[in-house]
Structure formats: C-alpha cells, structure tokens
C-alpha cells in the first residue's frame, strides 16, 4: 500500500468550510465506478505520476489528460466500489480534481478519500443534474451543489465539521503532522455534527 504523506504531494487548493465554494467544470460518470476503473490494478506498482494518467481511462480516455485542477467529478451510485485502495482517491487528487460529488459512495472509497484529503460529497440526485462541462459550485460546508448554467441548486447533508477539517488540512497524515491532535473529537463536533 502506498500511503504517501499528504504534505509531500502537490497541495490541491481546497476551499472548505469558511473558504467558500469549490468552482469548476463537471466531469460526469454513471453508477458503479469501481476502484478498478479509478486505479487499474495493472499499474498498482507504478508511481503516482504514472498511475494518475490511467485514472478512469477505460470509461473516458480523455479524462486524465484533459481534467483541470479545480474540476469536479459528478457520478451516480456507489462511486468507488470494489477493493479498498488508497490509490483510487489519490489518483483523482493528484490530477487536481477538487471534489467528487456522487449520488452515493462505497464505504471504503469514502473512508480513503477523507484519509488522503480528497473532498467528497454524497448528494443524491447529483448525477442527473449535470451534463459534461457544466459549471459546478460545491459548498462543502453547507452541502449545496449548484449547476451554474441552469441555476439549479441541490441541497445535501454536508459532511460533519470534523471530516471537513481533515479534508481541508489535506488528509489524516497532514492533520497529524500539523500537530493539531485530539481536537477533532467531541468538543468540536459536540452533538451538532450530523445530528440533523
């Protein structure tokens, strides 16, 4: 398993929480995008530089070459299903993807994405609200997802503040390295987080 400290990677600009929404273009994918599609097994031993070039290549061969930092991946149900690989969110993050918004996520992908600092937002209905290239704004703090062109706003349950802090720090190892330990527990979240 390659768990590179987030501090070594190219820091992706993350405007979580008070920093305002993420703004970019939407790349649209369907249901059941697996970790095999995100991070094909045959490149498992290659470097992140090589691996990221194969992200989603069998679904959209242009993706790795044309995705721009700040773009947002919009997908259907069960995004990131399949075997647990930290390399799956790592590839997206390394390509500069600012956020993945999906109708739903597979458990391990969601865990790994937060662990390595790739913003994710489960937002039921997102996949049918966007076409490729649409302008998209994602506010991780409020859970609002906006189709800029259509003026449509989807509201989803934001991730709890504790998880957003991990994301904005760049992942769990970055949180540890920052020395801000033990501050993500009950006192931050209190009974507010996710209680709604």
């Amino acid at each position: 398993m390659s768990t590179q400290p987030a501090s070594q990677g190219e820091p992706v600009e993350i405007r979580a929480g008070k920093g305002g929404p993420i703004k970019g273009r939407a790349w649209c994918f369907g249901d059941g995008i697996s970790t095999d599609l995100l991070s094909p097994g045959q490149y498992a031993v290659d470097s992140l530089e090589v691996r990221k070039q194969h992200t989603l290549e069998s679904v959209d061969p242009r993706f790795a070459a044309e995705v721009k930092p700040g773009d947002v991946v919009v997908a259907g149900r069960d995004f990131g299903c399949g075997s647990s690989r930290e390399t799956a969110p790592e590839g997206l993050k390394a390509l500069g993807v600012a956020c993945v918004v999906a109708d739903s996520f597979a458990r391990l992908f969601l865990r790994n994405a937060v662990a390595i600092g790739l913003p994710v937002l489960p937002c039921p209905g997102a996949s049918s609200a966007f076409s490729p290239g649409d302008g998209i704004e994602v506010d991780l703090a409020t859970g609002e997802v906006r189709n800029v062109g259509l003026g449509v706003v989807l509201r989803s349950e934001p991730l709890p503040e504790s998880m957003r802090k991990i994301l904005s720090a760049g992942g769990m190892l970055a949180v540890l390295a920052s020395g801000r330990l033990g501050r993500l527990g009950a006192e931050d979240d209190g009974s507010r987080a996710g209680a709604s």
Binding site: M1, T3, P5, S84, E86, A106, R107, L110, R111, N112, V114, A115, I116, L159, P160, S162, M163, I166, G171, M172, L173, V175, L176, A177, G179, L181, G182, L184, G185, A186, D188, D189, S191, A193, G194, A195
Partner: protein
C-alpha cells in the same frame, strides 16, 4: 424508534443519546489493533508526524501473526522495526511471533468486551462482533490517526438481521451456516451494513463458532457482524476470569452489555433454516460460489489446511480430530494444521488432539496465519487444489494464481484429507462404529466446477 446494536454502540462511543443509520459521527475508539503487515507503516506515520504517545496504551494491541516465524530476511527486518516501535511507544499489549493470530488473541486474552468499538488494520476485525463488540477494519493512515487521537469518524450503518432457526445436523458446523449464507445471499448483501445474527438458535452457538461467523461477515460485505451479548458470552467471560485472564468480568459485562431495542429498524430480516443446511463448500475463486458438499465430492486435492482466524480454534481442531482419529491422511495430500494461538496449541496438546492429528499425518505449524494468505508454510503450485477452513479463496491467495482453493468446515476438510478428494464428513462414520470395511477409493475427479475465474 429504537436502536440496533450498531447504533447503540456508535451513539455511546460518540457521546450521544441516539444516532440513526446514515448519520456521520466522530467516535472514541475503545480498542485498536494492528499486526505485522501494517504496524511498521502505522508507527512510521506517527513518528513522521512527531507523535510520541499512543492514545491509550492499555487499549492498543500489536500482534506479530502473519509472518511468523519470519521466512525471509525482509520479514525479519520488518519484525525488528516493529519491536523497536513497540519499545519506543511503550506498547504493553504486544504479542510477538508465535503467540497467535490477532483475531484469536483479542478475545482469548480478554481485550474485547461486549459493547466496545474495535478497529484493526485488518478486514477480519469484524470477528469481534462475536462478543457483541462493533469491530471493523480501517486503513493505515486511519490507524495512525486513531493511535494519535483515539477518535475516528464513522457513518452509522444500516443493519440487516439473520435469524437462525432450528438446529444443526450431524457433522454440520457453524462454518457451513456462514458459507450457506454467503452462497444464498451473495457477497454484497451486507455492503456497508451491520449484521446482527439473532433468532432462537443464536443461543446454541458457542463463542468459538460465533467468532467463525462474525469473522466471515466481512466476506458478505459487512462493516460489523454481531451477536448480542447473552448467557453464552457471559459464560465465556466467566471462563476467562477463572483461568486468570481477566478480572471482575461480571461488573464489566453489566456495564458494557448492549442489546438492540425491540423496535429497532432493520433494512432486511432473513431467516436461516438450519435444518436445510448440510456441509457446504465454497468453490474457487469466490466466497459466494457455495454448493452443498455433495456437488463437490470427488474433486481431487493435494493440500488440506485447518487453521486461520476463521477456524483454527480448539473446537475446530477437536472437530477435525474426531474425524481423523484412527485414520490416515491420503498419501497424495499434505494436511497442514495451524493452531490459532499458542494457548490453543497447548490445550490441544493436553487434550490429546495434537497427537491424533499428528498420528493421522498432519504437519503442525507455529501459531499464526500460516498459509491462509499465501505468505508461507503451505503454498500451492499451478494446478494444485487445496481445501481449507479459512475465509478467502480468491485467485492467487495461497501461492500460484493457477491453484484452486475450496473453503469448508474443519470436519469436511479432515474428511477430504483422509479421502484424498473432497468428501462429505457425514459419510465417514466415527472410527469406533466402522466395521472393517475397506477404505473407499478416491473417486474420479468430477470437476463439477469450472476452472477458476480471475477476479
């Protein structure tokens, strides 16, 4: 609306009165375990981040179980690094090579209690649901975070319930029941869900067999796989106290005991009719490719394996010995036994079980994972077949990607080792009952399954 076991445990651990499925919480972890495959990396992360202490030394457990004893220089170096980390962080609950498999040691050495939230850098951490704990696997970055902060985020899972009804037949094991469930409901049925194993027959299941079932809950996707703590659990904990492993079990049990509310909400309820379940076999190379043993009988094997965190316990070795007593392993078969812990090995020695196994022709490995994950101690060549009591039969799991792995109960594996091909343990009468009938000859390989499919 009431709460399920998973909801109760996550509510308590996150300091809330109630939580509901779908909610995210930050919870305090009660017990964290890492083993020799990942421990060095986890502690490296901590050192790199400047962390000098773990959140709770009493509830951090490090186990050397996969690479024991080291069979390569690299493995030995890795163990050495882990020992250095263990000394640096002052981890008292350190089980060095030969102590046993993590998922055996946690319940055997009194680390797991009902109601606990347990995380491990191992997918089979669901095992600890057997004692009514919410146990689940996490990644190495996450474990570093847990060891540093004692907290982790969780999404509260929906729960599905399997109600065990009726009673088990002769030579049928609870392993057969979890295999049957995997075959019947598929490997996705519990994806991201918690399972409660309940129903009138749950009280018939020993803790040893509960560990087997909860262990394999992850093979059908589960995040947790739990039995509500009951009299069986209480008796087990009392036993740990009388053998000097724990103290004050009654009080701790009363404090931590959890039950699902009667009006808890379940995503699905499934009945498991035990009378209809005979010995089962999972065919290569997916755990859900399960057939009644009769459909696989006659498949020639070269190796039989009894061990792992699924079925390497005393009860399992005893069940295998009952089949093997007075019999000989077929000359074409290597029978490998790996007791799940040193204590299991010692008990099996005292009870004469090891002698029976050795007399039958078994090789006994040190207590650890052995060949379960293809590390060492019983790998397979191309074209070979193994039937084992472990939990995964994926392509390449035990050596060659061209080998085939079948999963079954200890009884079925023992009967197959004697026959030289997959055999129904119900057809092997206890030795004392058998007349001097000649041994059945290995039938021709029927190849009832197609060659293994990758992935």
């Amino acid at each position: 609306m009431g709460m399920t076991l998973a909801e109760k445990i996550l509510a308590r651990a996150s300091g809330k009165d109630r939580v509901a499925a779908g909610e995210f919480v930050v919870a305090e972890v009660d017990l964290a375990m890492t083993h020799d495959i990942f421990a060095a990396q986890v502690f490296d992360h901590l050192v790199n981040a400047g962390v000098t202490q773990v959140f709770d030394r009493e509830h951090t457990v490090v186990v050397m179980d996969h690479l024991v004893p080291p069979s390569t220089e690299a493995a030995a170096e890795q163990h050495k690094r882990i020992r250095e980390h263990v000394a640096r962080f002052g981890i008292d609950n350190f089980y060095d090579a030969g102590s046993g498999i993590c998922h055996q040691l946690l319940p055997e050495r009194g680390h797991v209690w009902p109601g606990m939230l347990v995380v491990g850098t191992d997918s089979h951490t669901t095992t600890h649901g057997a004692l009514g704990a919410a146990g689940t696997g996490i990644g190495t970055s996450e474990m570093a975070y847990v060891l540093a902060t004692g907290t982790l985020w969780f999404r509260v899972p929906e729960t599905i319930r399997f109600d065990l009804e009726g009673s088990l037949g002769e030579q049928v094991a609870w392993k057969d029941v979890i295999l049957w469930i995997a075959g019947r409901f598929g490997s996705d049925v519990a994806q991201y869900r918690s399972i409660e194993f309940a129903g009138p027959a749950a009280s018939q299941v020993s803790v040893s067999s509960r560990l087997t079932i909860s262990n394999m809950a992850v093979e059908i996707g589960a995040k947790f796989g739990m039995f509500a703590p009951d009299e069986v659990t209480a008796e087990y904990l009392a036993g740990l106290e009388s053998s000097g492993v724990v103290e004050g079990w009654q009080q701790r049990f009363a404090e931590k005991r959890v039950e699902a509310d009667s009006d808890a909400s379940y995503l699905a309820l499934h009945e498991v009719p035990l009378e209809q379940i005979g010995p089962q076999v999972a065919l290569p190379s997916a755990v859900e490719r399960v057939v009644p043993v009769g459909d696989a009988v006659g498949t020639v094997i070269q190796q039989a394996f009894i061990g792992s965190c699924t079925n390497g316990r005393l009860e399992d070795l005893a069940a295998a010995a009952a089949v093997l007593e007075g019999r000989q392993v077929d000359p074409g078969v290597r029978l490998i036994v790996a007791p799940a812990s040193r204590w299991v090995f010692q008990e099996a020695l005292r009870q004469g079980i090891i002698e029976i196994l050795a007399d039958a022709g078994a090789s006994v490995l040190p207590s650890g994972c052995g060949p379960c994950f293809g590390g060492h101690g019983g790998l397979l060549a191309a074209g070979e077949r193994c039937i084992g009591t472990h939990n995964r039969n994926f392509v390449g799991r035990m050596g060659s990607a061209k080998a085939e792995i079948f999963l079954a109960s200890p009884q079925t594996v023992a009967a197959s080792a004697v026959a030289g091909h997959i055999a129904d343990p119900r057809e092997l009468l206890p030795r004392s009952v058998r007349s001097g009938a000649p041994r059945r000859r290995a039938r021709e390989d029927k190849s009832v399954y197609t060659a293994s499919q990758p992935g």
